[in-house]
């Protein structure tokens, strides 16, 4: 089947969206950009294609009604099992690389370090299914984060028992993770899916009884090649894609169009990403009429929150909920990220509550965005908010308040998948290029 793919190579994460000929979203994939856009693009695309497969499974199984009532449970279990298979393969890979990298490095301790590595990975492998069990909470879905945090914990215990230096184990991990992280496992997807299916049948014995009635549609999907008919890239790393300039679109256009596809009534778009803030005005067809971005200074972008989280020793996702507990909003005057950090410490020192300061910081970031919006021509109805910061409830609250104060009642759209807006715009451009303009893929010159 023909598919159209958009890849948004952002400064923090790389996102991919796959759509079909009817412009239905089949799959979405995301990965960390890891200073290597080639890999990030390949991984995000593979992830999106995997997620597309799951969507197709769901459709195919839904049509046969073999799982009547149990479809969601089955697909969710299958997805977890698939993630586990993927994780185990990467883990095995990481073990091999770690053992190799330890070779001859630690003098007479080398053998002990290698033995500790084997033990660490044995334990990692044993506990892996728990990480992917139903309801398990993971701080991140990226291999580096999951494997890394567990390696640190288990490695410390193993090092202690085996009386080898923990630093040696850390050193080996640091040397090895990038190599493993930069591998693309695209060709192993089918194998992992089949292995995952066996696990799922074991986990859900009722479904196993239906054997072929479930296997056949899934195999049917796996046997239908997904053709990557056209790919459009956007975002900071777009020039790295192996396609001609025809395949590249600016993120302004992609965000404008993506927001329009999600909400056809969109007139104004605000995107707050990792390092820039974009205010975009689009017409009724999603065509960009004007735009403004932060210039010279990146205060008020997603990184601002990242910096504040570091200063407060909190996770990025904890900021919003903390700010929502505020009883008042402390006024933060500085528009400079670093100065805001100083103001934050100052406020803490005079006894202000963290929650109230957080509310002030969220308002400060949105005030910057309001000024960029004003520069672009103001907010018109409907208004769509996208980007990573749209996931932060305190930022959204500050935005709603400020819009109401400055522009009155407005329809404000925030999609749970808003992080994929740019990639969706890219995929829609890919679709248009082929279906409306009759183009074919061109390689980079």
């Amino acid at each position: 089947m023909r598919c159209f793919i958009g890849i948004d190579l952002g400064s923090t994460t790389t996102k991919a969206v796959v759509i079909d000929e009817e412009r239905n979203v089949l799959g979405r994939g995301i990965t960390n950009s890891r200073s290597n856009y080639d890999t990030a693009a390949a991984v995000a695309k593979t992830e999106a294609l995997v997620s597309a497969r799951f969507q197709l499974f769901r459709d195919a199984l839904g049509r046969t009604k073999a799982l009547n009532g149990g479809l969601d449970t089955f697909i969710e279990q299958l997805e977890r099992d698939f993630r586990l298979e993927q994780f185990l393969e990467q883990l095995a890979d990481l073990e091999e690389v770690c053992v190799r990298n330890a070779e001859g490095r630690f003098g007479r301790d080398t053998q002990a370090v290698q033995a500790a590595l084997v033990e660490t990975f044995k334990r990692l492998g044993t506990e892996a299914p728990e990480l992917f069990a139903p309801g398990a909470k993971r701080k991140s879905d990226f291999f580096r984060d999951i494997a890394g945090s567990r390696y640190l914990a288990i490695g410390e215990a193993v090092a202690k028992d085996a009386e080898v230096s923990y630093d040696h184990l850390l050193n080996v991990f640091d040397r090895s993770i990038i190599e493993v992280e930069n591998r693309v496992y695209g060709d192993t997807v089918n194998r992992h899916l089949l292995a995952a299916m066996d696990r799922t049948f074991k986990a859900l014995p009722d479904t196993a009884a239906k054997g072929e009635r479930i296997r056949a549609p899934i195999k049917g999907v796996l046997d239908t090649p997904i053709e990557e008919t056209y790919v459009v890239g956007t975002g900071y790393g777009r020039a790295r894609l192996p396609f001609s300039k025809e395949h590249i679109r600016s993120e302004i256009l992609c965000h404008g169009l993506g927001a329009h596809v999600m909400y056809p009534g969109t007139a104004t778009v605000l995107d707050i990403g990792g390092q820039d803030t974009k205010a975009i005005q689009v017409d009724k067809a999603g065509i960009v009429e004007s735009f403004q971005m932060n210039d010279r200074c990146a205060a008020g972008c997603g990184r601002y929150l990242g910096y504040i989280a570091d200063e407060m020793n909190l996770g990025l996702h904890e900021l919003g909920p903390l700010a929502m507990k505020a009883t008042k909003t402390i006024k933060i005057n500085s528009t400079c990220t670093v100065f805001a950090g100083a103001e934050l410490r100052d406020r803490l020192a005079i006894g202000d509550r963290r929650e109230d300061i957080m509310a002030g910081l969220h308002r400060a970031i949105i005030l910057r965005a309001m000024s960029i919006l004003a520069r672009s021509g103001g907010i018109r109805n409907e208004f769509t908010f996208t980007g990573g910061v749209a996931k932060n409830e305190a930022a959204v609250k500050a935005l709603r308040d400020l819009i109401f104060e400055n522009y009155g009642e407005m329809t404000i759209n925030i999609n749970p998948d808003s992080i994929y807006t740019g990639a969706l715009g890219g995929a829609t451009f890919a679709w248009r290029a082929v279906v409306e303009e009759g183009k074919t893929a061109e390689a980079r010159k």
Partner: protein, 447 residues
């Protein structure tokens, strides 16, 4: 306002790829010689007994200064030449160390930094201390402060010509007479006293006749961009074309020769339907035609230009190429009314126009040059002319229906040119034009 590249003219090197050499029109090489000669004339002026004047580009009274045999220095040009030669960064930091804030106009700081380091000019020759500062005030308040600082340092004679702002968008007879009166009673007597040369109005008339020749040719060159493809870039190329006219050469036979050679070259390009010459050779495909407001960035001039021609964008008209005199709506120096025409020249400079006039001018350019839209390069350290640019942008968008975009950089402070960000915005802008064009074409087919 004039530009020339620090790279020497490459000798013919058979077998070497042309791409490694900077490509220029013949007139540009000629201009480089003129500019270098002027710097040399300045360097030796005091040795040969010549007095030296310093004045600013907008509203420069070159023909008048020539009547008193002054060697002529233009501080903004010195700053931008130093910017092009990548020398301004250090000068600016030196000036900041002396107490000039980060927000001060970077032309000023480059000039002050150059003075601190011994007045070594862009070509490596020492520039003289001016004998007179001619402050022709045409809309930039900073000019006054700048010369105040120079006067403080060198204790040199200063004469000010106050040119009234075109607040109502027109030049009244009163305004002209006000300027003429100052010329007669203040400026000319001072120049006579400093130079020791008696003013001869017939000499002024002769220079003005030369000016008119050059002005005619310059206008023809700038308006050649109405052709498709445009044979010139009216912004990046434009700054070369305006060089002699806006500086120490207007009214000289060299300038007349320069513009006649240039016009010949450009007319030949029109006949051959050729695009503009860029540093990487001729631009072969014209995809976007733009009007630009605001000066270019000088420290990354070539990189900035490249972002345009690489994507097939040509600037067909710019307001910056009118900063030292607006000629394309009919003004010419007039030998029959020399002082009045000096007054009208100063009053009509782009820097002295009000917002509605600037907006009208841009809209007219978009229409007459069949441009796809307006791009503003807003200058961080220029408070006088960056103010109001967003309002201009909005108004132009509204009136023409053409898309506009906004980038920010600086004149000669290398710290304020963020290439990745600017490129990102320019690419977005070009694609936006493309998308709008397709939509318009689609709508036209649908009807």
């Amino acid at each position: 306002m004039t530009t020339n590249q620090p790279t020497p003219k490459p000798a013919a090197q058979p077998g070497k790829p042309a791409a490694s050499q900077v490509q220029k029109e013949d007139a540009m090489w000629l201009q480089k010689e003129m500019i270098n000669k002027n710097y040399h004339d300045l360097a030796v002026a005091h040795d040969v007994g010549r007095k030296v004047s310093a004045t600013f580009v907008p509203g420069n009274l070159n023909e008048l200064l020539m009547c008193f045999d002054f060697a002529r220095s233009l501080p903004e040009t010195n700053a931008l030449q130093n910017g092009l030669r990548k020398k301004s960064g250090k000068m600016i930091m030196d000036a900041e160390r002396e107490g000039h804030s980060e927000d001060v106009c970077t032309y000023v700081k480059a000039d002050l930094g150059m003075m601190q380091a011994g007045q070594i000019g862009p070509t490596g020759e020492k520039l003289p201390v001016p004998d007179v500062l001619v402050l022709s005030y045409t809309g930039c308040f900073t000019f006054m402060k700048w010369f105040e600082l120079v006067r403080q340092k060198y204790d040199c004679e200063t004469t000010m010509l106050h040119v009234p702002y075109q607040g109502d968008g027109k030049i009244s007879e009163n305004m002209v007479q006000y300027v003429v009166k100052q010329l007669k009673e203040e400026v000319i007597p001072t120049l006579e006293r400093v130079s020791g040369v008696k003013f001869d109005i017939d000499r002024l008339r002769e220079y003005m006749k030369e000016s008119v020749n050059a002005e005619e040719d310059l206008v023809a060159v700038l308006q050649s961009a109405k052709n498709r493809p445009s044979p010139i870039d009216g912004y990046f190329g434009g700054v070369y074309y305006i060089g002699p006219m806006f500086t120490a050469f207007r009214g000289t036979p060299e300038a007349s020769k320069f513009y006649s050679v240039l016009r010949g070259e450009i007319e030949e390009r029109v006949r051959r339907k050729q695009g503009p010459i860029t540093p990487d050779g001729e631009m072969t495909e014209e995809k976007y035609r733009l009007v630009v407001e605001g000066p270019p960035n000088w420290t990354s001039f070539r990189d900035f230009w490249k972002m345009f021609y690489e994507d097939g964008a040509v600037v067909v008209a710019s307001t910056y190429s009118k900063v030292g005199g607006v000629y394309d709506f009919g003004f010419r120096h007039d030998a029959d009314h020399p002082l009045e025409s000096l007054a009208r020249y100063c009053l009509g400079c782009y820097t002295n126009l009000n917002f509605p006039q600037r907006i009208d001018m841009i809209c007219k350019y978009i229409d007459e040059y069949q441009a796809d839209g307006l791009l503003i390069n807003s200058i961080k350290s220029c408070n006088s002319f960056s103010a109001g640019q967003l309002l201009m942008l909005r108004e132009v968008e509204k009136r023409t229906g053409k898309p506009a975009a906004f980038v920010e950089s600086d004149l000669v402070d290398p710290r304020y040119f963020s290439a990745a960000n600017i490129k990102n915005r320019l690419e977005s802008y070009f694609q936006m034009i493309n998308q709008k064009r397709r939509a318009t074409a689609g709508a036209a087919t649908a009807h």
